[in-house]
């Protein structure tokens, strides 16, 4: 079931939680709403669910599930499944009764027979690999298990759309990783339309077909994870999606200077700020004719596929972070306190006023 939002906005008192938003989510898509806290992502999700009402505006805001206008439909009739960050399981009911709840509260005419309910609940429990815990109470389960129960409970009523509010936020890293993978698989098996909220960019990029990046109640960009990362539309998106190094200085005759550092750039005169991802910083023992960025290594973390190196210098307001291949790391015999030269492979620059907003330049 596709979801379409038209002109949806929300005030809480005098604060605007959500500026008028339009959003199309295709059938079978897994979409992540990503943003810092207070960006309006949870409000947007709750409005889609019907747990919150959008402001009455002109033209009126509309929410469509497929062809069905659900703007004024109560949450219980919207046919959604909602998964809460803190599970919101019914503590006084067993796992089985929790999952069966949505089926047992159906009007008598639509309610499946008790045998059918039983079969369906066990099928769901099997799917979330918890059939052996059917008789347990939520308090006896781990966080990851509780969240799986809550997911099974939401899916039991065969919702048109599945909405998840920071579903893995309360879990530890390892469990979160497992559940993510598992949700991805479940999604491709069952092919329901789902929207989830997260503040974790890695989670959003890994899980989603498309990511909606939000800040201050506004949608900043909607794109596939790949496009989002490679072609961020503005500075906020760029900075939110990963570590960023800043290079501030003034350009004069094609040379950007900042203290004793300089870099040849093809930019007009004036103050400039260039942004670089850690992997876009190359380290060498010598400066070049076009680039003189002396730095000192202050911290080294050799864990993972690449070595993360922290760099400081007089001309830098905030330390830089660079990722170096293990081979390069060994070749340069890197150690703390070592003096090196940074060479940008590529840099980005966002001009907030002029379009195109983003500009990425590859350095030879």
């Amino acid at each position: 079931m596709s979801i379409r939002l038209e002109n949806i906005s929300k005030h809480f008192g005098s604060t605007q939680a959500l500026e008028p938003v339009n959003l199309d989510i295709h059938e079978g898509e897994l979409v992540g709403l990503l943003g810092p806290s207070g960006s309006g992502k949870t409000t947007l999700l709750r409005i889609i669910a019907g747990l919150e009402n959008a402001d009455r505006t002109t033209p009126p805001g509309r929410i469509l599930f497929g062809e069905r206008d659900v703007t004024r439909v109560h949450v219980r009739d919207r046919r959604i499944g909602f998964v809460f960050q803190h599970y919101a399981l019914f503590r006084h009911m067993s796992v089985y009764d929790n999952v069966a709840f949505g089926l047992t509260v159906m009007p008598r005419k639509e309610r499946p027979s008790s045998g059918e309910i039983r079969a369906r609940v066990f099928r769901l429990l099997e799917m979330v690999q918890l059939e052996h815990l059917a008789k347990r109470y939520p308090a006896q389960l781990s966080g990851g298990q509780q969240q799986r129960v809550s997911l099974a409970r939401a899916l039991a009523v065969k919702p048109d759309v599945l909405l998840l509010d920071e579903p893995f936020g309360a879990l530890d890293a390892k469990v979160r990783q497992d559940l993510r993978r598992w949700l991805r698989r479940l999604h491709s098996e069952l092919n329901f339309t789902s929207v989830f909220v997260t503040h974790d960019q890695e989670e959003a990029l890994e899980l989603s077909d498309r990511v909606v990046v939000m800040s201050n109640g506004r949608i900043e960009q909607i794109d596939t994870p790949d496009t989002l990362y490679r072609a961020p539309r503005n500075r906020f998106v760029f900075e939110f999606l990963g570590d960023v190094n800043h290079l501030e200085g003034s350009v004069h005759n094609g040379v950007l200077t900042c203290g004793n550092a300089y870099l040849n750039v093809d930019l007009p005169n004036g103050a400039e700020e260039l942004l670089l991802r850690p992997h876009e910083v190359r380290l060498a023992e010598q400066p070049s004719d076009t680039c003189h960025l002396p730095v000192v290594v202050t911290a080294i973390s050799p864990v993972g596929a690449e070595v993360r190196v922290e760099l400081e210098a007089d001309w830098l307001a905030k330390p830089w972070l660079a990722t170096v291949r293990h081979a390069d790391f060994e070749r340069l015999e890197m150690k703390r306190g070592q003096h090196l030269y940074a060479h940008p492979r590529q840099w980005h620059r966002f001009n907030e006023h002029a379009l195109p907003a983003a500009q990425a330049t590859r350095v030879a």
Binding site: A49, L51, H74, V75, R76, D77, I80, G81, F82, F84, H86, A88, L89, F90, R91, H92, F101, G102, V105, M106, R136, Y137, P138, A139, Q140, S150, R153, A154, A156, V157
Partner: protein
């Protein structure tokens, strides 16, 4: 057994001050609670079993039990309903004057019960505001058991509100939302999701309100009318005996109230313990 033994072998205890704090607690309980009760039983010692039985089963006294228990039951049930509603309103909604209403809930605790009694009596007497309104309908509150129940309800409503309120506050709104997102109507969500959590607190609060009403004196005597066999409460019977310097008789009747109250409180505690264990997944 082992665990128990080590628990009481002070040397392994990490938390300090057990001996001192426990000692002072026991002393205080003894002085304030147990000593007077012992005194009560001391008075009873002067009575033979037959005399005791005769006093507590005297017709007028038995009638007073009926009046007291009946009115207390009605008051407790009324408070269960309205106390739950009040707690719900105080926890779930935001409205101007919420703080004031919240503070008002404790008034029956703070107000001398005699003040409440006089106020109610003047209000509901034939010449009072409410009395005048009710007179044409023929429904009399003052000097009937309805008045007794009203006075009891007044003095015991905080018990229900104040026991249910914290439990309701602990219950996240998400639980209702989850129930509704699964298609439950408001009624079903309340009955199957919210009430099971509130039961223990509601029963405890109602039980406390009931027990409190059994012993209430000041608020009731002014509005009760105190007609023998009709509107005399048990507490008044004790008072009457005392005025006749019949301390043993007063103690005998008092002991009945004491036993009923204790038995009820104990029963509620046992039941609640069992319920809470289930809520925490049988682990206790």
């Amino acid at each position: 057994m082992n665990q128990r033994a080590s628990r009481f072998a002070g040397s392994t205890r990490v938390l300090p001050g057990f001996g001192l704090s426990m000692g002072i607690s026991v002393l205080f309980i003894s002085l304030v609670l147990l000593l007077p009760i012992t005194g009560l039983f001391g008075q009873l010692a002067g009575l033979s079993l037959a005399e005791y039985w005769a006093i507590i089963t005297e017709g007028r006294v038995v009638a007073s039990y009926m009046v007291t228990i009946g009115a207390a039951a009605v008051a407790a049930l009324v408070n269960a309903v309205f106390g739950l509603l009040l707690a719900w309103v105080l926890v779930r909604y935001e409205f101007p004057g919420k703080r004031l209403l919240d503070a008002l809930m404790d008034l029956p605790f703070a107000l001398p019960t005699a003040v409440a009694g006089i106020t109610l009596a003047t209000l509901y007497a034939g010449s009072g505001w409410m009395g005048k309104l009710l007179e044409p309908t023929g429904f009399q509150v003052a000097y009937t058991w309805v008045g007794i129940a009203l006075a009891m309800a007044f003095t015991s409503i905080p018990f229900v509100v104040r026991t249910v309120q914290p439990v309701l506050e602990d219950l996240p709104a998400e639980v209702d939302e989850a129930a509704m997102s699964l298609g439950a109507t408001d009624g079903v969500a309340f009955r199957r999701v919210i009430m099971p959590h509130l039961w223990p607190a509601l029963v405890t609060g109602t039980g406390l309100a009931f027990v409190r009403s059994l012993g209430e004196f000041g608020a009731i005597i002014f509005i009760a009318g105190n007609m023998p066999y009709e509107t005399e409460i048990t507490a008044l019977m004790i008072f009457v005996k005392l005025q006749e310097y019949d301390y043993a008789g007063a103690s005998a009747i008092a002991s009945v109230v004491l036993f009923v109250s204790l038995a009820l409180l104990l029963a509620i505690n046992v039941w609640q313990g069992r319920f809470v264990r289930r809520l925490h997944g049988g682990k206790g």
